[in-house]
Each structure stands twice: as C-alpha cells, then as structure tokens.
Symmetry: C2
Amino acid sequence: MSDPITLKKLAHLSNFSISTVSKALADNPEISKGTREKVKKLAELYNYTPNLVARSLKQRRTKTIGVIIPNILAHFFAKVLVGIEKKAVALGYNIITCISDESYDKEVKSIQMLASGSVDGFIISISKETYIKEDYQHLIATINKNLPVVLFDRVTENVLCDKVIINDFESSYDATKKLITSGCKNVIFVSPINHTSVGIERVNGYNKALKDHATSNATSQILIIEEYKEFAQYFNTYLEDHTIDGIVAADELSAIYTMNLIIGKGLRVPEDVSVIGFTDGILSENSNPPLTTVDQHGIELGEIATKKLINRLEQDNSIQNEYTTTTIKTTLIKRGSARIED
Amino acid sequence: MSDPITLKKLAHLSNFSISTVSKALADNPEISKGTREKVKKLAELYNYTPNLVARSLKQRRTKTIGVIIPNILAHFFAKVLVGIEKKAVALGYNIITCISDESYDKEVKSIQMLASGSVDGFIISISKETYIKEDYQHLIATINKNLPVVLFDRVTENVLCDKVIINDFESSYDATKKLITSGCKNVIFVSPINHTSVGIERVNGYNKALKDHATSNATSQILIIEEYKEFAQYFNTYLEDHTIDGIVAADELSAIYTMNLIIGKGLRVPEDVSVIGFTDGILSENSNPPLTTVDQHGIELGEIATKKLINRLEQDNSIQNEYTTTTIKTTLIKRGSARIED
DNA sequence: CTGTTAGCGCATTCAT
DNA sequence: ATGAATGCGCTAACAG
C-alpha cells in the first residue's frame, strides 16, 4: 500500500519545482516565506520524510556509526552499547551493531561491509582472536579510507586512533593491594581474557601490587579460564593443594563463577576468602553474597567514545587533531564478597 | 588518505565503459570471459568494493533490518539479538539496532527514522509504555508502507503481521502446577512486566493452574514490581504477614531478586520456599542456589524471527502470504531453587 | 559483446 | 524568488 512520497511528488502536487520544494523544506531564505509555509504544510499533510539513503549518497555521509562488539552477552559490553546508542541518538546518529563473537574473521568482514559506504566511522572493541593473530591491518586500512575509528576497552598500540579505556593497571593494583593490606596472604588472579590488552594490564597491576605489598614469599598465581566447565574441574583440584584467601577476577562472570566454586567447597565468602571482580553488572548486584566489584562505568565510556567519534566526524577536516586516549577512572563498589578495610 | 575507488575509476583504468565494468563484476555472461577476468583482476588490485548506499538507492532495497528492543540489559533480549544478528549475517543482511528503553516516544522515533529508506523491514518487541498507551499506529503505518514487521515476544493483536512468541500461558501454568503438585500451598506470582502481552499471559497461566490444582482456599497473589528498591521494602513487610512456600517470577532478575530477599529473611531456598523464574540467562546459572528456570530459547527465537522477515522480504510480492504466528515451546531447566518432583 | 542512456531521491550551483 | 540542470555511484534496459 502506497509508495513513499518523494520530493518529486510534492513538486507535482504543489506546482513548484523539485528544487524549490527542497529548499523550502530546508527553510532556505532564498524561498519566499509564503511558499515555504505552503510547501511545509503539504509535506506534513502527506507525511513526507526524506529518503535517507538518497541523502546519504548525495551528501557523502550517512549519519550512522558502525559498532563492533565482541560479545553482547557480557554485561559490560551491553552497558557500553547503551551509552553509545544514547549519545548517538542524541546527536542525530544511528548505529549499526555487529557482534564479532570474539572472531577475527567476523570482525574483518563486518568492518569491510560497513566500510563500503554504510557508516561514517566506527566504534570498536577488539576480539580475542584478533589479539592472538596480532593482525590489525583491517583497522589501519579503515582509518586510511578516511573512516575514523574509536577503540574502546580492548585497544592496541599498533593502531593510531582515538581510544577510550579504563585505568586497568591501577584498578587491579588497588584491588589487590586492598586485599593484602586487609590481611590476605594468598591472593590469586583469575582471568578469562588473558590475551586482550585489558587482561594483560590487569595481570600487571596484580603482580605489581604483590611485589609492593605482599610478604616476600608470596607468589603470583594467575589462573586462566579458557572454558568454564574445564576450569571448574581444574580449580576444584587446585583448591586441594592450595590455600587461598583472596581472589581478584578480571571480569564479573569469572568472579561469581569462582566464588560459587569456593562456596561449593564449604569455604565461606568473605570470612575465609575475599573476592573482588571487575565490571559492575546485574550479576554482581544479585549474587549471594553480592560481589564487591570494580565499576568500569560502561555507559559513560560508551558516551565518551561516541562523542569523540562524532567530534572527529564533524570537525573541519583540514584541522587534523591529534589522536587522544581517554582514561576513565574506575570506582570500587564495596559489597559483601570482600573483607576490606577503610 | 585516498578517496574510495568507484566503478567510474575502474572504467577509466580499464578503458571499458562503466556498464561493462559493472556487468563484468557481476559475472554477467553478456560480457566476454576475457574482459570479465581482466576487470575482476583490476578490481581486486584496487580493492574495489561497491558503494552499498548507491546500490541501495538503485535497487530500492537496503539489505538491512531494523531491530527495536526495549532493553538490551535484559539477558533475554540480548540473547534474541544474538540470534537475529547471526541469522541476518548468514543471509546477507545487516542489522540496525535501536533501544526503545521501554519508551513509546523512542520506539516511534526510531521506527520513523529507519522507515525513511534505511531498512527493508523490522523486528520489534513492544515497549512497556506502548502497551500502556495502547497506541500501535506507528506499527500499522510501517506495515502499510510496505515495510514488513515481525513482532517477537511482546506482541499485540492490534497489529496484523508475522509474530514469534513463546507459549507463555502454558509455561506459567506448568511451572505453577509443578510447584503445587510438589506440595506448595502458597504460591505467589511476581512480575515486573505486568503491562505486556507476555506478562499478562503468564499471570493467566498462573491463575488457571491455581484454579485447577490448588486447594479451594488458595488465593491468587500477584505482586507487581515497578521499581526494585520499593519492591524490596514492600516485600519484606509482606513476608511478615504472609507465609509463602512457592514463587513463580515472570523473568530472571525478579526471580533472583526475590529469592535473595527471602534468603535475607532467614528462609531457605528450596527447603522453605521453591522459586522458578523465566528466562535462562547468566544470572540463573550463577545464582546461589542456581535458579530453576523456564528457558525461552532466545537465540532460536531471534533466528526464527529473522528467517520469517527475510522470507517475506524475498518472496514474490504478488503472492501475499498469510501472516503467521510461531510459538516456541519453552523448556524447564531444573536447578537448585525449586523442589519439584519427577 | 560493448556502450549509451536513464534514473533511483536528493541537494546544490547556476541561470533566469 | 524560482527553476533547470548536474551528479552522488550504481544497475539495467536498450542500441548498436
């Protein structure tokens, strides 16, 4: 029912030319006030909305942003997406979301597809597989095509562009330190994201805190989670030859998962073992006990990334601003899973 | 750096005409094998990718789907989105995601924007506010513009279109019945989605099961959650004048939240109170005790919705197929939060 | 087998 | 103050 109404049809109906109608709708002062009114009324009557595809082609900008996310089921990324969406809509942009599913191939394909005219720029968090391959050529190529990229959270030094990250090293350092100064003697680190920039920084922070604050015979214990079921088995036997009293986990799920294994072993949280996780999401709030966690401010992060991208998109192209990296400071949210002081 | 390479440029470089180049790249047998090869090689060399916006304008189809979701932070919707994305990409489509944030206005605006040429059709789950306003005109208008809509989960009889839902009534009925036949005398129903089609069906199922299977003096107890903090207060006092031994919750978060309140009151789950929730997500798997839950098969649901939409988009337009509603059967996943038999 | 032409819907420069 | 003409990049009908 009904083909969409176009400028051409409005021109017929109003007995003005296409260009007059176009200008009138744009409130161009070239056109007399009277016709502007008339045309607008008509457009309203027929419910005219300009075809955005045609406009994109003409203007050579789409007013849409491509977003590539490794995994939408992780609460942190969902939160960032909320922030991106919110800010984008507020500034008149749409977003096209692709999920890389931690796969290099999907990441490359999605970017290539969207880079063929569908978007003006990208907001991307790098997939695990891409880190393993260490191949960032697709990102560099995109930037070279004049499609700005903002990387967030999972970033790399190998690509020059705007970035938004959190202070991973410091946050991890502080969390570990707090456990130690509150009396923990054996703090381990658990991570399902070992290959990513984020995962590495958090490990480094943990190690540094150990060196600075633990007793000299304390050793760094880093447990990598590739697959949760396997990890459960491994960790249960691990607990039999090791006593631990503190855990820092690189994300929310691994924290809760590990905590539940510990409780399953008959240990008490936080009396016997203190647990701190990263990412403040629904899981953390509603676990039992509720998880003490490092809030990464995902929504805010998404908003900042979007703002940065759109700034670059709309800036005068001759002024090539320096690329900047914004670091968001995390906040420790104290709940029931860790006994920490002050 | 570098303007994108176009057909025109390839034409210059190859000394063929634009149309020849276009046809050659499309492997059109009109063109001699030799030139086809030559042109393709050149295109490869220059890394040519067709401008999708121009193609969309020409073909009057964008190969992208608009997805409107009320809240990406709810695990169920995130899962559906994963299914949609997966299927869409597999069938050569992109998706543009908008989050209505349960707001009528955002829902309307997003749809209008995307309906202006950006997408070929929609996959939508209706916002709470839209249900309250009972205004579905924007959906009907979209369908009348020849933009097919598939509604999922949160649907309405007031819009004629394809739909994908789960057997909410039956699932809720069965869950309630199971609790009763396993010995629960006082089963309450908790819902944060009371206004939606889904919420209503689940309440109905609960009530019917009560009528069919409970003792005659059992009364229907339905607690609505508008805001979690308020609910916590209310529920804590509620527990003081009521004894309950069973809970059916309309989603995952409300189930866990309520369960934690109960545990906080010193009651044991499942010994004193059995809890069953809807949506099988990360929360359910990792709660303590793990939640017995109705799996809505979100990913599959998303895939089916996408398939239905694309089928309609690609069918011969003269054959106007009947609209159909697909009902997905849920599965009860037994974990530790409910004592139920068989 | 190849090229010319037209047009998708819009914005814009250049006449009038 | 208005309109004609052009072109964004592509496909396709039609001519040769």
